[in-house]
């Protein structure tokens, strides 16, 4: 079989799902940046989920659950997105080949662990990584635009199959998605403000103490109680928070900088200067999250000059500033 190489504009992104949305939409001629996709989907949040464990630690999320972004952006912009799952891996691989042969870029959900092009220390069992396949070469390897990487990569068919059909939490079941049609005109202006309003409301949290500001304060409380745990656990717990916030495809500070970038674009598109102020405040919030990470790691390094209370206090400062941001956002889009 000859090579299939579809035209694609590979762009490095901070985060996989927003990057895939931006790449797929741009391929259809829609002007969509990664931060814009993130903001339009109202993806910014905070969730501390003690009952969902990742290597024995609570799941801490700074964005809405996987697939929210692609689904919401397509829905808001009237884009026809076809998604398919497969019970038989071979059928799923054939369906991928068929779409490529038809000339369609294909978005896939996959496990990070089974993708050999990931650096060793970053491979772990997370099943909701997104990427775009844009071709297949004569050797049968797939050509992949993985948004978090600088350059396009290749992946052997067997590895990609393993990654698509890995089982467990958030299992992809071979999920693939293709854009079938797009409207002739896409107008972002009208969907931006409702999306911001939703984020602002969500920041105040839901009924449970695990979301939004309540979630952040809950995590601060957990940190204060770490002195009752073995020191090794305390260090691993704090390191876990920092990894969730910085390492796991968040673009730093748990997506806060990406959101600030969205607000700046939103200010311009909707001609709402107040949103620029919101963007600046979001930067401040992001900087505070980074200071919190620095304090947490300082503690892990056993520097005597920082206590668990100091770290928790910093986190409560973050919560306070996020509360202020929520108010600013609601004021700006009112």
């Amino acid at each position: 079989m000859p090579d299939i190489i579809l035209p694609i504009n590979h762009q490095q992104s901070s985060h996989c799902e927003t990057g895939v949305v931006a790449t797929l939409l741009q391929s259809k001629g829609i002007d969509m940046s990664e931060p814009m996709a993130f903001g339009l989907a109202s993806a910014l949040t905070f969730a501390y989920l003690p009952f969902v464990k990742i290597s024995g630690m609570p799941l801490i999320a700074y964005r809405m659950p996987p697939k929210t972004i692609i689904k919401k952006v397509c829905k808001k912009l009237n884009i026809d997105l076809e998604t398919r799952k497969f019970s038989n891996p071979d059928v799923g691989m054939q369906a991928l080949d068929d779409e490529l042969a038809k000339g369609n870029l294909v978005g896939l959900q996959s496990s990070v662990y089974w993708l050999p092009y990931f650096p060793e220390d970053m491979r772990f069992h997370f099943n909701a990584h997104n990427l775009v396949v844009y071709g297949k070469n004569e050797q049968g390897e797939y050509l992949i635009s993985d948004p978090v990487f600088e350059h396009p990569v290749t992946c052997a068919a067997e590895d990609l199959k393993n990654a698509r059909f890995a089982k467990g939490a958030l299992a992809a079941k071979g999920l693939m998605y293709v854009i079938r049609s797009t409207p002739t005109h896409t107008q972002l202006e009208h969907v931006i403000k409702p999306a911001i309003k939703k984020t602002a409301k969500m920041m105040n949290g839901l009924v449970l103490p695990y979301f939004g500001l309540k979630g952040i304060r809950h995590m601060a409380k957990q940190i204060r109680q770490l002195d009752k745990k073995p020191p090794k656990y305390a260090r691993l717990y704090l390191a876990h928070i920092v990894r969730m916030q910085e390492e796991i495809g968040t673009g730093g500070a748990g997506f806060r900088f990406m959101y600030a970038s969205f607000l700046e674009q939103a200010a311009q598109l909707t001609q709402t200067p107040a949103l620029n102020q919101c963007a600046e405040h979001t930067t401040l919030v992001g900087d505070l999250w980074r200071e919190f990470a620095m304090d947490a790691v300082k503690y892990c390094k056993k520097r005597g000059d920082i206590s668990l209370d100091d770290i928790a206090n910093k986190l409560e400062q973050v919560a306070e500033q996020e509360a202020k941001l929520s108010k600013l956002l609601i004021g700006a889009v009112a």
Binding site: Q12, S13, S14, E34, P35, K53, S55, G56, Y113, W114, P119, E120, D121, M122, R123, F124, H125, V148, F149, E150, N162, A166, K167, G168, A169, A171, R235, L236, L238, A239, H240, V242, R243, E246, E247, G251, G252, A253, F257, M258, A260, S261, E264, A279, T283, G286, D287, R290, A293, M294, A296, V297, C300, K301
Partner: protein, 133 residues
């Protein structure tokens, strides 16, 4: 975060790759900026990776002494724990805990052994044996 403050700490875990962050340029506007790593982040990563490696090495020693089954080592070597392996293999956690006992693991049916091989993507021979230290 200012553009000039984007850390460039050449993190080992990035293996020479760069990550994209959003930062504010001199005129106050956001743009994507590449980062070769942040020492704070890589410390946290390393702490977690070291802990996993330590657990894996310990499991290997115990398995070589015959205190636990080879499955305990292969599970950790593939970055699974009991909870994630249960999710990926379809076994219950209590079943996996039993299979970590050498006597019970030795009597596992071919069907169950194959299920582990399929989940861990290793051959039957590899699953039943251990690397020498």
């Amino acid at each position: 975060m200012k553009k000039d403050d984007v850390p460039q700490d050449n993190s080992k875990s990035y293996q020479g790759q760069n990550k994209l962050l959003y930062a504010v340029d001199d005129s106050g506007h956001y743009q994507g900026v590449k980062s070769s790593g942040w020492e704070i982040e890589s410390f946290a990563t390393q702490l977690a990776v070291d802990d996993l490696n330590e657990q894996t090495a310990q499991a290997l020693e115990q398995a070589l002494r015959g205190e636990i089954s080879p499955l305990a080592y292969h599970m950790l070597a593939r970055r699974f724990d009991i909870a994630t392996l249960a999710g990926a293999s379809g076994f219950f956690q209590w079943q996996i805990k039993r299979h970590l006992r050498p006597a019970i693991f030795a009597k596992l049916s071919d069907k169950n052994i194959n299920r582990y091989c399929d989940t861990l993507k290793i051959s039957r021979d590899a699953l039943l044996s251990l690397p020498s230290q």
